[in-house]
């Protein structure tokens, strides 16, 4: 009852802004608006209020001085960042690693979800689903520990197997390019199962009559997937793609930090680890903030652009 009421008001509101109408709609659905206040407060406290700290990027802030007391330095820190070779290296690594994740890691859950959807035996489907998203709940520290046990060049289980079978050991985690591949595959292994949940939910939402009609028309399994399942989850795919594009500049810290080692630093050092080391550990909070700001701005622009194109292509976008 409330739901329908609110949506009716929403439609009205779109027609034009009118104070009287707005007030009366607030009055009508007072409890709903009150409920909205809670997440709003949360958002304000934890997303907007900390933005005050962004001014650190333009200040020479070194504790014990407070942020307000620290002198302004303008764009000095940005100049320093954009002149340092190290920054371009970590930027390149971030883009390469995240780009690879996007290319290989983004389709993986879609494929997996479709495969799971086609499984007929219920218990098998359930069990494999659970097994698939298990790794998502492991912390990266544990995953890295396991992977080093398995993949070390000489003492790793996999390489012991390979050498005993007469092959030569593969430097999964110690050679730069191999490391990138391993990093990528381990990432897919960890998160693909979890990613299927949203797609499976979207697939459930597809009208089953469509499938029945397709069967009547003589469509095989692949045809059904191609013409019904995939178009059915297209909006979900697009929305997730846009969100993921926004993340291409950002990077998780724990994954590269735990999987990286001294031998592959050339490829493993990403923005997050750079900020941790040269910003936080070196007490250069302005550098950390400036890089963070840069990351957010680029991410935001990427989201806007992809949203724009997705709207152009008739997919609606996410806002």
């Amino acid at each position: 009852m409330y739901y329908s009421n609110a949506s009716k008001n929403n439609i009205k509101a779109k027609e034009g802004f009118n104070i009287g109408k707005t007030l009366s709609s607030i009055k009508n659905d007072f409890s709903l608006y009150l409920l909205l206040v809670v997440p709003m407060i949360f958002l304000f406290l934890f997303s907007y209020k900390p933005m005050y700290g962004l001014i650190i990027a333009f200040k020479d802030y070194v504790p014990p001085m407070t942020i307000a007391e620290s002198p302004w330095i303008g764009f000095d820190i940005f100049k320093e960042i954009f002149q340092s070779n190290q920054f371009y290296k970590v930027l390149r690594n971030t883009l390469i690693l995240n780009g690879l994740d996007l290319i290989t890691g983004f389709p993986a859950p879609i494929i997996l979800a479709i495969l799971l959807n086609e499984v007929r035996v219920k218990w098998f489907k359930k069990t494999s689903q659970t097994l698939l998203y298990m790794p998502y709940f492991l912390s990266w520290v544990i995953i890295a520990g396991i992977m080093y046990q398995l993949m070390s060049p000489e003492t790793g289980l996999i390489n012991i197997l390979i050498t005993n079978l007469g092959g030569t050991a593969v430097p999964f985690l110690t050679e730069k390019l191999m490391w990138v591949v391993s990093y990528n595959l381990i990432g897919i292994w960890q998160s693909a199962g979890w990613g299927t949940i949203i797609y499976l939910a979207a697939i459930t939402g597809i009208n089953s009559e469509l499938y029945e009609a397709a069967v009547v028309d003589g469509a095989g399994r692949l045809r059904k997937i191609w013409h019904i399942t995939l178009p059915g989850i297209r909006p979900t795919i697009i929305a997730l793609l846009i969100i993921n594009l926004g993340r291409i500049m950002g990077s998780s810290f724990d994954r590269p930090f735990t999987l990286g080692n001294a031998m592959v630093m050339d490829n493993a050092d990403v923005i997050a680890t750079y900020v941790y080391r040269e910003g936080l550990q070196s007490v250069r909070y302005n550098l950390a903030t400036a890089v963070g700001l840069f990351q957010s701005v680029v991410g935001f622009v990427l989201v806007l652009i992809s949203n724009y194109f997705s709207k152009k292509a008739g997919e609606g976008g996410i806002f």
């Binding site: 009852m1 504790p63 014990p64 003492t155 080692n261 550990q281 070196s282 250069r284």
Partner: protein, 545 residues
């Protein structure tokens, strides 16, 4: 009616949520308010005046089987006793040993740093001083409030805590300038191959080759690791002494001898790396050393009897972790010796090493500390013999028994009065690095009894004898902070690890090219700037004299 009920229920739910979230926001303040009355409560049973609360840092080493460093029998004992004796309420703040500087910085940024900020490293303290983190300790106040401390440490030693004639650090006493950061070798392997403890790099390589080829451990040549090694062991910044010229010009000492920064570009360091490169190429050390960040794999290899040499890279030889004890359990025939300190000394070079300054940990008083007097009172109280003796030895009859006036620890004592990490040093290191009997020989004896692994006291003695043979240089002390060090030290630390991995593992014939490339990167990552600043400061200091 029904809709009214729903409305009321939802309003109630919402208000609960709201109150909940608001309460969550106010949490920080509330806590602080809650703590206050507690402090006042304790005050009531005080004879005079209000108890002053101070926060003191303590190193948390994360060793297995130890109680939390900030909350155990001894911290409680101190809190109780100090409150009674000097009306000071002491709470401890744990500082992880391996990331101590980070932790202090974090606490400083959050304005929650303890009243005392300490470090064993002089450059770290000068950096804190340079940032304005510390407050001056007026000398007259020090003398009037902490006369016992001044007398105990000695004015000569306290002078090292001065910057420009003003006292900033409270330096602890160092009665015995010795800590066994050392390496041990399998004496039974040496005997089996019929060789002597190697005294220079050539002899060392010969011994390592013998270990590999003759396989004295009967493990199969493929499984024998002549020298267990780790990134941690390679990283230790002060190992190039054996490749330094002697006498070493003071300027070079000032520029390159630094416990925080690897001197990658310095000629002696290049020679050390070349030596390690040779060991690596000939398969004489752990092949996966660069993946072993914390020396744990090296520990495991040595304890299981697979390796011929072990480096105590994460801390001095001590009863915990039980390296030697576990080895002997696994391989009952194993015998150990301290590896001759000359093992990484170029043939013909003098065996030199790093010396300590005559002070231990340096404690500064946080600028935001409201009661520097209470801190001084606490230091003064701790340096009183009746307190220090208890902190260092524990309870007579439980932790130790007296034998000829020397407290001998009760073997295997496991009660709650157990000293933290076997010595309790992290608590009393504020005033001294060790026990002082007034006699160096006796000091070593006392230290050995308390700190060496049980049954392996002779290793301590051997290591001490080795050290006594060396000519030792303490690091150069700059009178001003080298500000660029703070700025670049972490970046350079990461580069240092990367360079070590690349250079030591350089393929045959590629060593020089790899080294030159690494040096270029290292200089560009900030080392150039640090060297320039050090040179400037050094020249200024010389000009003054």
């Amino acid at each position: 009616m029904k809709s009214f009920k729903i409305k009321v229920t939802s309003m109630l739910l919402v208000s609960v949520l709201l109150i909940g979230s608001l309460a969550g926001c106010g949490g920080g303040n509330k806590k602080a308010e809650e703590q206050k009355p507690q402090a006042q409560e304790t005050k009531t049973d005080k004879p005079s005046g209000e108890a002053v609360e101070i926060k003191i840092p303590v190193y948390e080493r994360g060793n297995q089987g130890q109680p939390p460093a900030e909350n155990n029998y001894w911290t409680k004992w101190i809190a109780e006793k100090a409150l009674k004796d000097i009306n000071v309420k002491v709470t401890y703040v744990p500082i992880p040993r391996t990331t101590d500087i980070d932790k202090f910085n974090m606490l400083l940024a959050a304005n929650q740093a303890p009243d005392v900020i300490f470090s064993f490293d002089y450059p770290v303290m000068t950096a804190f001083y340079g940032r304005g983190v510390l407050q001056e300790i007026p000398k007259d106040m020090l003398k009037s409030v902490a006369p016992n401390f001044v007398k105990f440490v000695g004015e000569e030693t306290l002078k090292y805590g001065e910057v420009g004639g003003k006292q900033y650090y409270l330096t602890a006493k160092r009665p015995l300038s010795y800590t066994p950061y050392t390496a041990i070798i399998r004496q039974d392997w040496l005997d089996a191959v019929g060789m002597k403890n190697p005294t220079n790099t050539d002899e060392f390589i010969a011994v390592m080759k013998a270990f590999k080829e003759k396989d004295p451990g009967k493990l199969g040549a493929k499984n024998t690791i002549p020298m267990s090694y780790s990134l941690k062991a390679a990283k230790s910044q002060v190992q190039n002494y054996g490749f330094r010229p002697d006498p070493l010009p003071e300027e070079e000492l000032a520029m390159y001898s630094d416990v925080q920064l690897g001197a990658l570009t310095w000629a002696p360091e290049k020679e050390r790396l070349k030596f390690l490169n040779q060991l690596y190429l000939e398969g004489l050390m752990s092949s996966e050393w660069a993946l072993d960040k914390d020396n744990k794999k090296a520990e495991a290899d040595f304890m299981s009897g697979k390796a011929g040499i072990f480096h105590f890279a994460t801390g001095p030889m001590a009863s915990n972790p039980p390296i030697a004890q576990t080895l002997v359990k696994n391989v009952p025939t194993a015998k150990l010796s301290v590896l001759d300190f000359g093992w990484q000394t170029k043939p013909g070079n003098k065996n030199t090493g790093r010396d300590y300054w005559p002070f231990g940990i340096m404690s500064g008083i946080n600028k935001s500390c409201k009661n520097p007097e209470a801190v001084l009172k606490f230091f003064d109280w701790m340096s009183k013999p009746e307190i220090l003796n208890v902190l260092q030895n524990g309870v007579e009859g439980k932790n130790y028994t007296l034998k000829d006036g020397v407290p001998v620890p009760v073997a295997g004592f496991k009660g709650e009065e157990s000293l933290l990490n076997g010595t309790g040093k992290d608590i009393w290191c504020l005033v001294t690095e060790g026990k002082d009997t007034g006699d160096p020989v006796q000091n070593l004896k006392v230290e050995t009894i308390q700190r060496a692994p049980a049954g392996f006291e002779y290793l301590w003695q051997q290591s001490f004898d080795q050290m006594s043979k060396q000519k030792r240089y303490p690091d150069f002390l700059f009178d001003k902070p080298v500000t660029s060090t703070t700025k670049y030290v972490k970046a350079l630390d990461a580069k240092w690890e990367e360079s070590l991995a690349k250079v030591i593992m350089a393929k045959k014939g590629e060593f020089d090219a790899t080294y030159d490339k690494a040096c270029k990167d290292y200089l560009a990552a900030g080392y150039q700037e640090i060297l320039a600043e050090k040179k400037k400061l050094y020249d200024e200091m010389k000009a003054k004299k």
